[in-house]
């Protein structure tokens, strides 16, 4: 079995492979050189693994490209996989998230984009339709851009129901229980320190959300200040930041296999946004955020670098593997739930996204 790691950077895509149970990696690239790859996914549901990339080709605009031969060739739709309908008056600025749905929904791929929008494909990512239910939501005109732009950056379709959970910067968490027609904000308990007054119904800058392995109703959120858990599908949130060296960060990931296990990569806030004391480390919880333990032997000291929201992911291996990319172009992998990391690649452009999959 081959494990594949897709590494999207500000100037291209690299693919790393491991054929020895994730102990060593060989890196192939660059693919899509000079193109910003802010979103990538590896869709293993079809006859061949499909690598989907949300690219921004420098001056020439964003689109979605895909490869069915592990990067040897790339294709794109003539008129663009993602195009805002004419009546919206909007233009695609960046693809932030590409998320294949479950095996029971072959061909369905979700995309989160800038400006704030959610898209759904039924042909494996060749073409997408705007999810009008979210676009027409009365809150949309008031969603503000975060530092990276106003985007839907997290899309979590529930494989067992019609629930779709998304997160936006800014905007916060929104949930649809009917596959995307109706949406409601679910941010109660999440603070918004950049806004005056009481916590708002929506408008939070939720950086990333992950689903617990034990229950689709248990969610973890890394906020722009604050780490939270919800046990009721986002209806209410409670802080689980106690015990962390900093409550700021961008990514959060949950184990796909072990309930209660999740990881964050803390950064000092609000303005510094570097690892505490310059030590790049991962913090792991085994009890759904009640306690946290610093892990990450092999990650560097004297590392004054951030890990952005999608540059951290887990795989479906046993035990769970972790992958982490930094803004100084280093990629680290752990095959033991974060206890130890090894260097996969360095001196790449800023790492924007990593995604891992096991190939048959």
């Amino acid at each position: 079995m081959t494990d594949l790691l897709a590494i999207g950077t500000r100037k291209g895509l690299w693919l790393a492979r491991s054929d020895d149970g994730r102990r060593t990696w060989s890196v192939d690239g660059p693919h899509l050189l000079a193109q910003e790859v802010a979103a990538v996914s590896i869709d293993t549901r079809g006859p061949a693994p499909r690598v989907l990339a949300g690219i921004q080709y420098g001056h020439w605009g964003p689109t979605v490209m895909w490869s069915d031969d592990l990067g040897a060739t790339w294709q794109e739709t003539d008129h663009g996989a993602i195009r805002f309908p004419e009546d919206t008056g909007a233009a695609l600025a960046r693809v932030w998230q590409l998320r294949p749905d479950s095996a029971d929904r072959p061909g369905v791929v979700w995309a989160g984009c800038e400006p704030h929008s959610l898209w759904r494909s039924t042909d494996g990512g060749c073409s997408f339709d705007l999810v009008r239910g979210l676009h027409d939501h009365p809150h949309r005109p008031t969603w503000q851009p975060g530092g990276g732009g106003g985007a839907v950056h997290t899309v979590l379709p529930d494989p067992a129901s019609d629930r779709v959970t998304i997160a936006m910067s800014t905007g916060g968490v929104y949930v649809s229980e009917d596959g995307g027609d109706k949406w409601e904000p679910r941010n109660r308990g999440i603070l918004a320190g950049f806004l005056p007054g009481e916590e708002p119904e929506y408008g939070q800058c939720v950086h990333k959300v992950a689903v617990d392995a034990g229950s689709p109703d248990r969610l973890y959120a890394q906020n722009h200040g604050g780490v939270y858990r919800s046990d009721d599908a986002g209806v209410s949130w409670s802080s689980i930041a106690a015990g962390l060296p900093a409550d700021f960060g961008f990514p959060i990931a949950a184990s796909p296999a072990v309930p209660g296990t999740a990881w964050v990569v803390p950064l000092v806030a609000d303005m510094q946004r570097v690892p505490p004391d310059g030590r790049l480390r991962v913090h792991r919880t085994r009890d759904a955020g009640e306690t946290w333990t610093e892990v990450g032997a092999g990650l560097p000291d004297d590392a004054w670098v951030a890990v952005v929201r999608d540059a951290f992911c887990v795989d479906a291996g046993e035990p769970t593997g972790l992958y982490l990319g930094t803004r100084d172009g280093c990629v680290y992998a752990s095959a033991d739930e974060g206890d130890t990391f090894t260097l996969v690649a360095d001196h790449l452009p800023d790492v924007l996204t990593v995604k891992a999959a096991s190939l048959p």
Binding site: H59, W60, T63, E76, A91, L92
Partner: protein, 93 residues
């Protein structure tokens, strides 16, 4: 009428490998020209304009040497035999 569109090398692959494309627009504006270009080379055309029809922010278009941003934009007149340059602007890092 026929207009020659001159492309930077990075876009040539989207025009069949040529940096020179002869286009016969239905009208006499830059918008007409780009519409005709899109009909034959849709991937090339959307490198130049977004889906609203606007020329992308960091793409410059010159009609007979004049930057259309300082002329009439997409309504800039394009004459028979004109040369239209598409160039990336100074941006990036």
């Amino acid at each position: 009428m026929t207009v020659q569109v001159l492309l930077p090398g990075v876009l040539a692959a989207l025009a069949g490998g040529s940096k020179h494309v002869d286009v016969a627009p239905a009208g006499d504006t830059l918008a007409d020209l780009l519409d005709a270009l899109a009909a034959d080379h849709p991937m090339l055309a959307r490198r130049i304009r977004d889906e609203t029809g606007e020329v992308r922010r960091f793409v410059n278009v010159y009609v007979d040497g004049d930057d259309v941003r300082f002329a009439d934009g997409l309504q800039t007149k394009v004459r028979d035999g004109a040369e239209v340059h598409v160039l990336p602007s100074v941006a990036g890092g």
